[in-house]
Amino acid sequence: MANSGITFNPDRFKKDQWKFHAFLITLTLFMGSPLIFVFNHAFKPYSELFAYPPKFFVRRPTLENFLRLATFSRESGIPISRYIFNSVITTGAVVVLTVIIGSLAAYALSKLEFKGKETLNKINVFSLMFVPVAVAIPRFLVLINIGIYNTYWAHIIPLLAMPVGIFLIKQFMDTNVPKELIEAAKIDGAGNWRIYWSIALPLVMPAIVTVSILAFQFSWSNIEGSSMFVDIEALRTLPFYMSTVISQQGNIVVTAGVGAASTLIMIVPNLIIFVFMQNKVMASMATSGIK
């Protein structure tokens, strides 16, 4: 066999890879260092936050910054647990509803025959390029008019229309759910719901996992809902609470300590989920192309 000069997905380390490793190690050190800094900074006590010369690594880790976040008393007197509760409830709802609504639509767009299917598929690919921040203002007007301003739904509904979610599930279903299987089930008398639930859904789990991760990411760190669509303090979420605590510290050094702690709270769940699920995400991304 002729040597193609390139080996994708090699089994083990070979000498000719050293250039790649050298580059990638340098780059990952560079890209990873702000995150390592966040991890260290979040646990620094006051003396180290103010230290000169500034220290990159923490010497005597403490939970001071986290406590400051948790015990910051505001005029409203609402405890941090309330914000955590709100965040968990709304994020849970966003993940579950996004997956249900998205997979139902993706099933129809991928496997069912109906009038207008082509058009709907085109519309969905077109709406991939939709930029939500651009329409924050008209969205605000819509939410007020349908009566969900100042409810939990104000955190949930704006995140549910996720074109990329439907797109990823549909693409994965196109390649990984064979037509023959569905035909066979139909002959056995299964209806659309039955086929969706017992055949299509189990086969597209990697895409479902990927979409859940994305929905979690969008919702867990979403500040827009609390800052624009809700003005009752007790309905606001954790990232919003943390951002107000940070903005009221008044000192840039203390701000950075508390800021690092809150950044950590926002990214650690995402990181852990991604690390454990990255195989599924990669499987799903393999079918993500736009044709």
Partner: protein
């Protein structure tokens, strides 16, 4: 197959689509339409909108110096730099990662991907301490003590530095879904293509990239391009967050989205803000058109 009446309706494909279609109309289509309609009105959120024709657009293009001199040029410059550079970075990283063994690749990929999870605004407080303008700022400390700089640089209060820092910070966090798509795409290319090409005498890696790798992952390239375009428009508010709130010095890094939000939520001139929004949506559309031209199958 022989269902009758309501039972047949229960199996209708439209029932599967309905929940999403409803949300799509509510959260995506209607806001876009509302923006278009309001852009022809004067609306302060309290009184009924008054139709004023093209006045908002005329004002934007003739009298709004902040929009013309800062928002438009910043937005275009920012997306033209962050978009293509981030995109090429994503491709070459994916290409390199595909050529190292699985375990090492996973570690690298997780580290490269994770900044995209952090969210630019969330990290702003941390960047502010790293780029802090006094001697205790990490970058300034390094410049003064390692490279003999005379005095600390006001990175985040100086318009000349703020914009480049915003670009670096955005690039750092831009290796997201698009990057993963390209990596997955490259890993799934049929290896026999490369072997066949090698037999035909293709030795050069550049040739392989342009004649095999890129054509094989064109659909992922397009998906990734769309993702990176969206990503660049999500930097709304980044300049303010880095500068510490308010309008950034000399409107450095002030984007069209910031301009729209400023008019909408600070001054409550919803009609004018909507016109700005419509212009932004048209720009997004143009960028996507270019991406489809470059990577789409039907040209």
């Amino acid at each position: 197959m022989y269902e009758k009446g309501w039972k047949k309706h229960l199996q209708s494909p439209y029932l599967f689509i309905a929940p999403y279609a409803l949300l799509f109309v509510l959260i995506i289509a209607t806001p876009v339409l509302v923006a278009m309609v309001l852009s022809f009105t004067s609306f302060n959120t309290i009184e009924t909108p008054v139709f004023i024709g093209l006045k908002n657009y005329v004002d934007i293009f003739t009298g709004d110096t902040v929009f013309l001199q800062h928002a438009v040029s910043n937005t275009i410059l920012f997306s033209v730099i962050v978009g293509p550079i981030g995109y090429m970075m994503a491709f070459f990283l994916a290409w390199m990662l595909a050529q190292v063994p699985h375990r090492a690749r996973t570690i690298y990929a997780v580290i490269i991907y994770s900044p995209s999870i952090t969210g630019a605004i969330m990290m702003a407080n941390v960047w502010r301490i790293i780029f802090s303008g006094d001697e205790a700022g990490y970058i300034n400390y390094i410049l003064i003590n390692w490279f003999g700089a005379d005095s600390p640089v006001q990175f985040l209060q100086d318009a000349d530095y703020l914009f480049p820092i915003m670009i670096i910070v955005s690039l750092w966090g831009s290796m997201g879904l698009g990057f993963l798509a390209m990596l997955a795409g490259i890993l799934n290319i049929d290896r026999s293509l490369y072997e066949a090409a090698a037999i035909d005498g293709m030795k050069n890696r550049w040739q392989e990239i342009f004649y095999i790798t890129i054509p094989s992952i064109k659909p992922q390239m397009l998906f990734s391009a769309v993702m990176s375009i969206i990503g660049t428009f999500n930097a709304a508010g980044l300049a303010q967050a880095l500068a510490g709130g308010g309008v950034p010095p000399q409107y450095a890094g002030w984007l069209i989205v910031d301009h729209a939000n400023d008019f909408g939520f600070t001054r409550f001139e919803m009609g004018y803000a909507s016109a700005v929004t419509v212009i932004l949506l048209i720009i997004v559309l143009l960028f996507n058109k270019i991406a489809y031209r470059l990577f789409g199958e039907r040209g």
